[in-house]
Assembly symmetry: C2
């Protein structure tokens, strides 16, 4: 094993396959000189693209397979037809076998999660995996999870999400003790779901050294960046993410149409176009591309299926950092603290 | 009983009380010449404000009470201290007694819902009330519900929400048969919650003449306006609403900061300022102010607590239209159709 980060790529995943995966890898490679890449997929499609990126080629190899999971395969179909042999499976399997440190795919989420679960299994102490993503906020970025890996959550699962999400925030934001909020529909203690209240109580009493539980947060807090980590069950999390994406797109449309309406507006746009570029960059969904699968014995990153090379490079960046800054180790350590707490003789306040 | 719309106002509700409620009523009055108003609250605060609006005064009366529900009262406190005598209760009670057609309050949501439920009771055939709101979309507006009146929903409640929401859409959008989508985390039939799938099956088989069920929609569809009515349970609905509000605010901040960064950007803003005014108007949350309580034997509208006179006027407008275009009648009729269907001998496809 080397100090390098070894990245397994499902070259056939996503709407564009190798045409995005290879140039995406080249962009990320330039930012991470010690990364190595393995491309799983159709040799005949990958090799010519790799030839155009000599620096990437020097740190890459190709593992050929004919089989690719389709974007519309159901998870069960993908497992039936793609296990042992699809590019998606092989990328995950490289992580399982210790030949790679992280697997990245723009393939379909359900299939990727099913294969990752089947092959890597959940970590000891974690019942169900989760999908986490970076959420752009007025203060920077937050980690939000779960975004739909599973539906519904009891208090224990919400606590697991807090543990895993805070480990991810420590990796990505270089924080000692990120703040964690539980998503709820009101900040008063009396409101919201029973399991959310119970999870809040557990987190408050646990006083974990790796995370700072700050209580309930509401939907509006996500954009404000009130907490470094926002925890919710997968149904509400997925809806929130997509509602926010939809709103951002909607406002972009409003802006575009307002600025092309009159000659004065078009002139204004001309003068302010640098400012709009900054704005566009800030809102660029490609910059925060990369759903992180948490709770498995290995790191798997899901890129948006429709992304371009820049977006795919962001997903690789996220995966790279997760390895480099020891995500799994951090999760294990926090889990151990949490579990020791559970087994320790009850403290005064824990008896409540 | 006259043909006029009689509007009961909780003059003490919201962050600003009569200072917003009275001028708000005056703005709405100008748009609805046949509206009549009753102000419930502190006579000494209301009367001088009303004196400054002679046209409003001519169609208004004041019912004095010393008691007001506070914004931070818990629902149980509000019921204990404010029942029979608070301005909020009296406004609702006027609807109950048939002295008014609609009650509007900017007071606290939990208290208003508790009092409305306690006093007006749910309609026959409806288990639990809901809160619906207008959601601005790229195509215009949609009705979204439930936004937090209750948490969790079985399939029957989701169907009730579809029935009530479509009645509201018919009133507000003047549609014969609004499209209805069930909010879910994937458009494939295999995904999402069991109860959402079951509700989808019921709606598909019911083939109600008053609504056009179009299947599952996702969070992104809300901003796009894919369905006239978007149905979800209250927890996810509330989170989605607030996530979208947060994102809109966040993008407004980004835009403001981008446009004040350089002299070129500021010059651009100068030329395009009319366009930005259009944009601001479009995003103005006051324009869609007014959560509608559905499923009760009477119409109650919740205005945002922090709104200004324009925003409060919008809430009154919504209430006015609900009365004018017979919301309750429309809900009852659709419910009856739905219930008849339930009792009819099963059709071929219903046996599935």
């Amino acid at each position: 094993m080397t100090d390098n980060v070894r990245i397994a790529l499902d070259a056939m995943g996503g709407d564009h396959g190798p045409a995005v995966v290879v140039p995406g890898a080249d962009i990320s490679r330039a930012r991470h000189p010690r990364a190595e890449f393995v491309f799983f997929g159709d040799q005949a499609s990958i090799a010519p693209l790799l030839d155009t990126c000599p620096k990437l080629k020097a740190v890459s190899r190709i593992v050929h397979t004919d089989v690719a999971v389709r974007m519309d395969d159901k998870p069960s179909q993908a497992l039936r037809h793609g296990r042992w042999k699809s590019s998606m499976w092989l990328a995950i399997d490289a992580v399982k076998k210790g030949e790679a440190d992280v697997a990245i795919s723009a393939g379909n989420t359900g299939a990727l999660m099913a294969m990752a679960k089947f092959n890597l299994r959940t970590m000891p102490g974690i019942e169900r995996p989760a999908i986490a993503a970076l959420w752009p906020t007025l203060r920077g970025e937050s980690v939000v999870l779960d975004l739909g890996a599973s539906i519904g959550a009891d208090a224990e699962h919400l606590v697991d999400l807090a543990v895993m999400g805070s480990a991810m925030a420590r990796v990505l934001f270089d924080l000692e003790r990120p703040t964690v909020g539980l998503l709820n529909i009101g900040v008063e203690e009396i409101k919201g779901l029973e399991e959310v209240r119970e999870a809040g109580q557990i987190l408050r009493e646990a006083q974990l050294p790796e995370l700072d539980y700050i209580g309930f947060v509401e939907g509006t807090d996500m954009g404000l960046g009130t907490a470094d980590v926002v925890v919710t069950e997968g149904f509400a999390g997925n809806i929130a993410l997509k509602a926010a994406e939809g709103t951002a797109r909607q406002m972009g449309e409003y802006l575009k149409s307002a600025l092309s309406r009159t000659w004065r507006a078009r002139l204004g746009y001309f003068f302010a176009r640098e400012a709009f570029k900054v704005l566009r960059d800030k809102m660029d969904p490609r910059k925060v591309n990369g759903g992180v699968f948490l709770g498995l014995n290995g790191i798997v990153i899901k890129s948006h299926g429709g992304t371009d090379a820049d977006g795919f490079a962001s997903a690789i960046d996220v995966g790279h950092d997760m390895v480099r800054y020891a995500l799994l180790e951090k999760i294990r350590k926090t889990l151990a603290h949490y579990q020791q707490r559970g087994k320790a003789p009850p403290l005064g306040e824990a008896a409540l």
